[in-house]
């Protein structure tokens, strides 16, 4: 499979490796929708387990976006990873898997990563008017949107 993907996309597949018995692919961000589509249609990864991200503020491309896929037919998991900068967005995979809707909304909520083509990209766990994206590394652990707390909860101190 890896050979086939590499043959098709060349250096777009940055890395195809295995760590502790778990396979992962590192893919160029522009190739993401195609690769995901191929993985589902041709390689039978029909179940999107999870979409998540990680923040590395010291890197130029600050965010890792990670798709965890599973194939019922092969009983196999694979992780697809891409790196993007803060200003960049990722194509949405809602047209490939229905699951992606809420999972992408959560990534947006927690990291502020935008997904192009998502039907209703808005916050899911935090309130709509909240400022900041808590899972970014520059967001403190006790940090809150004090203004929101003052206005909506009527707590003077904002904590």
């Amino acid at each position: 499979m890896v050979a086939m993907l590499k043959g098709q996309y060349g250096s777009g597949i940055r890395e195809a490796n295995s760590y502790l018995g778990q396979n992962y692919l590192v893919v160029e961000a522009s190739l993401i929708p195609e690769v995901l589509q191929v993985l589902r249609d041709r390689e039978q990864f029909d179940y999107c387990v999870d979409i998540t991200a990680a923040h590395y503020p010291q890197r130029e491309k600050q965010f890792d976006v990670i798709w965890i896929l599973y194939s019922f037919a092969r009983n196999e998991r694979i992780r697809v990873k891409t790196m993007i900068a803060e200003s960049e967005s990722v194509p949405s995979s809602t047209s490939i898997w229905g699951t992606s809707n809420w999972l992408e909304r959560e990534v947006y909520d927690m990291f502020g990563i935008r997904f192009d083509g998502h039907p209703d990209l808005k916050r899911i766990l935090l309130p709509d008017g909240w400022k900041g994206h808590p899972l970014r590394k520059d967001y403190g652990i006790i940090q809150q949107d004090q203004e929101w707390v003052q206005i909506n909860l009527g707590i003077e101190s904002g904590q």
Partner: protein, 384 residues
């Protein structure tokens, strides 16, 4: 303007001067303070008379930022936090987390610890299913099963209490194995419990399985096909009730599950009644697993050799287990320090809840309650 009013103003409401005979779309808010939403779930319903045209879930009322907390705690310190997600199945959460960290460190829990883990996790699955059955039946209008299931669930909680001192948020396992050796008489007590509970499950079934009201309220309600389940990432008993024979305990065995003989019950139609039957059968299978495990707990240590300070090497790992509600996964990124760089929890309830909209479209308002119940969500896990 709050998000609710914004949402309401977006939809066209009927004009006040129209008579009640005109059919209008109606927006009704359900929750977050509603006894049948199993916590603080808020659902905005769009109705035509009593028919549901669409729903929107508003969640996050119980958000505590578990994933953020993880980045600021050591691996061992974060362990008790996972119990607070799915608080009716805390043991499963702990098992998933401990195994994920063990995998990241490339160590194995000793066989004795694995057997203890299996017994406690399966007991917890029983407790979780019992709580689900009691509350689900109560939502639909049958009060009696609640008393029955809570009475019997108490016996499981007593075993947990004797084992580790806690009833709900157990923190039963540690990274590398178990903290506590089984107490004296643990095996006989578990065996006694198995004898006690098997006829009780028959009792629940006598109350409900052929009960006409129960069958009418659950048959053909909230139907979801296997194809839709997979597309929406729905796992656990809901997926199996739609006919997909998939259970992580069999597909990718963890702990000591490969040692035991058990079946994966499946349904045919994927309606609420099938999901009920699947969970009832699962309870019996859990009894079977416990029965096999408790007779032959191997001797030996209960803790693997792990360093005093847990510092997994740099790398990423995804590990998932079959929690009572579906696939519970942990994705951990380690930077080689004592704290996780990033810890992601893949919660089954959150993903399963997304299927609610598809399952209730075209159904009646009362069926929404039945479907929320049958999805078996815990808001502590949905919101984290």
């Amino acid at each position: 303007m709050t998000d609710a009013t914004k949402y309401l103003s977006r939809l066209e409401l009927g004009q006040p001067d129209q008579t009640f005979l005109d059919s209008n779309e109606l927006i009704i808010n359900m929750g977050p303070q509603h006894p049948a939403t199993h916590g603080v779930l808020r659902v905005i319903l769009k109705l035509d008379g009593e028919k549901v045209l669409g729903t929107e879930c508003v969640i996050g009322y119980l958000h505590r930022g578990v994933e953020k907390i993880a980045e600021h705690r050591t691996y061992a310190m974060f362990n008790p936090y996972v119990d607070r997600m799915d608080y009716v199945a805390a043991v499963s959460n702990g098992l998933g987390y401990c195994e994920a960290v063990e995998k990241l460190m490339n160590i194995q829990a000793p066989p004795r610890a694995n057997y203890i883990r299996v017994i406690l996790t399966e007991l917890n699955r029983l407790a979780s299913h019992m709580l689900w059955l009691g509350t689900h039946a109560l939502d639909i209008g049958a009060i009696t099963p609640l008393f029955y299931t809570f009475r019997d669930r108490e016996e499981i909680l007593k075993i947990f209490e004797k084992y580790c001192g806690a009833r709900l948020t157990t923190h039963a396992f540690r990274i590398g194995g178990c903290q506590y050796e089984t107490y004296e008489g643990f095996e006989t007590e578990v065996k006694k419990f198995l004898k006690f509970v098997a006829p009780k499950i028959d009792e629940y079934e006598e109350l409900l399985t052929t009960n006409r009201i129960w069958v009418k309220r659950t048959r053909d309600v909230g139907v979801i096909s296997a194809k839709d389940c997979i597309a929406l990432g729905v796992t656990g008993p809901v997926l199996r009730a739609s006919g997909v024979k998939w259970d992580i305990r069999k597909a990718q065995p963890y702990a000591a599950y490969s040692d035991f003989d058990f079946e994966i019950p499946i349904g045919e139609k994927g309606d609420t009644y099938d999901r009920y039957i699947v969970r009832m059968k699962e309870m019996r299978q859990s009894l079977r697993i416990i029965e096999q495990a408790v007779g032959k707990i191997p001797e030996g240590p209960i803790m693997a050799k792990i360093p005093k300070v847990i510092k997994p090497p740099v790398g990423e790992i995804y590990h998932s287990i079959e929690a009572p509600k579906g696939e519970l996964g942990y994705f951990i990124v380690s930077d080689g320090s004592t704290q996780p760089y990033r810890l992601r929890v893949r919660p089954p309830s959150f993903v399963n809840l997304q299927a609610l909209d598809m399952m209730v479209r075209g159904a009646l308002v009362a069926d929404v309650i039945a479907v929320i119940g049958t999805l078996d969500i815990v808001l502590g896990e949905v919101d984290r």
